[in-house]
């Protein structure tokens, strides 16, 4: 099925003020489309966590969003250092975020597990030195 809406967002590196702008835009779009509020909320949380990860760990990146009749597919990718041990990174409480990020209230090692908790489908692809790709799919109530 062809996607109905396609969006691409830049996620600027090290700009903590702008972080969340892409997720905020997608949230507004889903609200306008009349998607069920609980699904909008889960989508927002999952995408925002991934967007923050791209800012904090990935030197910024891009978000590609495709909205179909029955679902939204989000890809957030960065060209950062990648994740050496994905299993470890998925563990709640494990974090490599610097103190400066923790002082901002983030970097507690809950992000990836929280994406998994909120997303209907979640795929994480990463390799040390090759960046990270996060795929999130959410299905709408039809």
């Amino acid at each position: 099925m062809d996607n109905l809406i396609k969006k691409k967002y830049e996620i600027p590196a090290n700009d903590f003020t702008a972080a969340g702008e892409a997720s905020s835009n997608v949230r507004r779009l889903l609200d306008q489309l009349g998607v069920t509020p609980s699904i909008v909320k889960r989508t927002s949380i999952a995408m925002y966590e991934a967007e923050l990860n791209a800012v904090i760990h990935g030197n910024g990146g891009k978000a590609l969003v495709k909205i179909y009749e029955d679902r939204i597919a989000i890809l957030i990718y960065d060209g950062g250092p990648g994740i050496e041990n994905i299993e470890l990174a998925m563990k709640e409480g494990y974090s490599t975020a610097p103190d400066s990020i923790r002082e901002m209230g983030f970097g507690a090692g809950m992000g990836l597990s929280n994406i998994k908790k909120n997303a209907d489908e979640f795929i994480l692809e990463s390799e040390a030195g090759k960046g990270t790709r996060v795929y999130i799919t959410m299905y709408f109530d039809l």
Binding site: F16, T17, A19, G20, S23, S24, R27, P37, K41, S44, I45, Y48, E49, L52, E92, M104, G105, F106, G107, A108, G109, M110, G111, S113, N114, K117
Partner: protein
């Protein structure tokens, strides 16, 4: 509880959306760590925090939190107020510390039942 009562109880300064003080607040969450708010907060209308940065507003937006109370005398800057105003989020501040603020509200009937955090 109606938000205007909370403003009185905590002696709050209202920074944005002063026209929304008729919001009903049944449960709240108190945390300085936004990671925890994102991971554990459920159906809360209000967040109490001592953290001051724009990502507090973003976090509230993603979680449908309608009211943020900054404790310990912290005040949001103009950029934060502008962002919150755009999102329709009420920003309040109180000189009371976190523990006392939460205690006052809990005693008055605002529980944390919508949340595992704070």
């Amino acid at each position: 509880m109606i938000l205007s009562e909370i403003v009185n109880l905590l002696n709050c300064q209202v920074h944005t959306c002063g026209d929304k003080l008729d919001i009903m607040v049944k449960s709240a969450c108190g945390a300085d760590l936004m990671s925890d708010v994102m991971a554990f907060s459920k159906e809360n209308a209000m967040l109490l925090t001592g953290l001051i940065n724009p990502q507090v507003i973003r976090t509230a937006e993603m979680l449908d939190i309608q009211v943020i109370v900054f404790v310990r005398g912290k005040k949001p800057d103009s950029g934060m107020c502008e962002l919150a105003g755009e999102k329709g989020i009420v920003l309040l501040s109180t000189d009371l510390p976190m523990f006392v603020s939460c205690g006052v509200l809990y005693k008055a009937g605002v529980t944390g039942r919508g949340s595992d955090c704070g």
